[in-house]
Symmetry: C2
Subunit: 420 residues, 2 copies
Amino acid sequence: MTKIGILGVGTVGASVANILSANADIIEARAGKKIVVKSGVVRNLNRDRGVNIKLSNNPMDIIDDPEIDIVVELMGGIEEPYKLVKKALKKGKAVVTANKALLAYHRYELQELAGKIPLMYEASTAGGIPIIGALKNGLTANHIESIQGIMNGTTNYMLSKMIKEGANYDEVLKEAQKLGYAEADPTFDVGGFDASHKLLILASLAYGIDAQPEDILIEGIENINQTDVAFAKDFGYEIKLLGIAKKVEEGVELRVHPTMISSDSMLAKVDGVMNAVSVVGDKVGETMYYGAGAGGDATASAVIADIVDIVRGNTGPMLGYKRGLEGGFELLPEEDIVTNYYLRMEVDDKSGVLAQITDKLGKFDISIETMLQKNHKNESRVKLLFTTHKCTEAMIQEAMLNLKRLDCVYGEIAMIRIEK
Amino acid sequence: MTKIGILGVGTVGASVANILSANADIIEARAGKKIVVKSGVVRNLNRDRGVNIKLSNNPMDIIDDPEIDIVVELMGGIEEPYKLVKKALKKGKAVVTANKALLAYHRYELQELAGKIPLMYEASTAGGIPIIGALKNGLTANHIESIQGIMNGTTNYMLSKMIKEGANYDEVLKEAQKLGYAEADPTFDVGGFDASHKLLILASLAYGIDAQPEDILIEGIENINQTDVAFAKDFGYEIKLLGIAKKVEEGVELRVHPTMISSDSMLAKVDGVMNAVSVVGDKVGETMYYGAGAGGDATASAVIADIVDIVRGNTGPMLGYKRGLEGGFELLPEEDIVTNYYLRMEVDDKSGVLAQITDKLGKFDISIETMLQKNHKNESRVKLLFTTHKCTEAMIQEAMLNLKRLDCVYGEIAMIRIEK
């Protein structure tokens, strides 16, 4: 029998305990051993957790318990769980965590500290989808060319609504909050930070890159509006908040931002709160993994898969590499990222304006690929929407600053990156 | 260093050798050891295989070689590789096979014989997609409610063409043959047999069911025509050749047949030669796995993933279960399968005919859900297309026999099952 202790018995923790009990038969048949939750730790003992396990409010009750083989960390936060996970590893206990923030900041220290002790984290990224397993074990023959993922259900729900129903950003945010898909302060989701944590975890498995959220380009969906959505539709794109990791000659791009992708791609077809990760390997080509990215039971499914792997003795190297890669991969500086861009700006409706703008862009070696001009009724300004040929992030940012300074351009210039 | 021997150096075998050499750096970093192909076995030594390894035409040169740790079986056929895999296991060598037919018939004997020796087969099902790993390791917390998969690229290519381009069956078959997607004798693919082998492998992982192709319902796509395709479009369906495993109260349904599925489902969006498997777990909900189902490099990617897992000591129980499941699952007899059906028939264009047909169906407790009548110009017969509410396979088969006997019905009645 394997005994588990759960640090943090919230929605996911309760699901872990309840599934281990409800599906005990099949889990034992697969693992070869009974797996039992011995106890859980919560901050507030007075709240009912809907579980039938012993609860304490002292994490050391689990960490010091010699009967407990596996510590499941589901507390949230970063430094507090980091301290506790380190203590558990030092006691020789295997650890399973769903904590993406902990891993976004401390995965390499934890790998070092864990050594041969299993530290598993399938649930940290894309909930119930076994994407960690796919990258860690399933695609090991490949140099990974790119990872593109819808790794945040909240924003995908919101963008799907904006696209399918023509709703505006504020409306869909309110609705997402009402349905419990978005927090009262939605910044972590809509700002792309949640997705960035997951992207960093996948980037370690694919490229062995030790970056933190502050090191990479992160943009949220707050500025997307119906003009952009309509443009995307007209030109055969969907707008998705993607986490992107991509190997280019000079290094590895890591970035999270709203992205226009071809409506024909499989990722474009992923609607609502669902997650999906597309991985291109140099030998296998594109594979895609789709499923629920959040929710108690889906996330618990991944936590328990890790527990079963530990019981089977099936854990593999924590971050996918057993040895460093000779001539390993480097994070490409943000400004060197090269892609296509969509720009939206408001300009004077008079002759010569377009020439001024293309001239300015030309100074930065940026050329226009497609253009759409939207006239307002009875107004002296028009909306100018266009996409560019490939250029660097540095160039487009500099060009946008310069365009803004033109007398014929009003207000902010909106930009969405395009992946072809 | 781990040394490999390859039985059968055809397209996939050559890819395995070439990728192990081309991607040696990343594979060694992930596995923690160099992996080298020591030798290969082919029937005909005179043909150039495009590989840089020692070749012999005697399988025992690999099986008896004490330096070889892992035997990769890529020969094709059933009884010959079965004999050789048994010999390799008896010598204590780990085995990796991509041979679906071998597993469709002998997986339980091989599991028994292998005992603690790794026998891996990721490449046997859906090529480069790590679906075996997902079911074996990623979804272990779940009772699997259903598996529905596009597991044959040839037929998906053909059906996609028929649907998108309005081409007819014979045309697309010829084109698939020209492109090398279909064999000169296409029966194995278009008849559903290839998909059935893969389905049986997945059914073992999900349900522990020891069935063989002869035990289950297998139907091919040979009778699909443009009338069916047009009907499907009008009623919001796509037609896909699916392998389906489904847990119902009385047992597990296993079946391969053309299926009408909702155009909104993720599987419906999988076009061309790509494969995809949708798995519904009772806790995780739907997850889907998408990618190339065939091709030398994609299949080799899965073979090498297995090799790396063996080198890491990461293999898990061969068929997913370490112990039998108390009150395990039973294969549901074909005639007890319950689903919705689409029927196409040619009938007299006169009053009373519809009444005769609905009356006959009523005798078998089958009621019609939707109906479409297609009149031919200047003809006395019409095409009658309709879908039924749920009924058993036994009832629909019996009803079809009886309908055929009616004077107002001409020729064969075509039937396609519907999954909602």
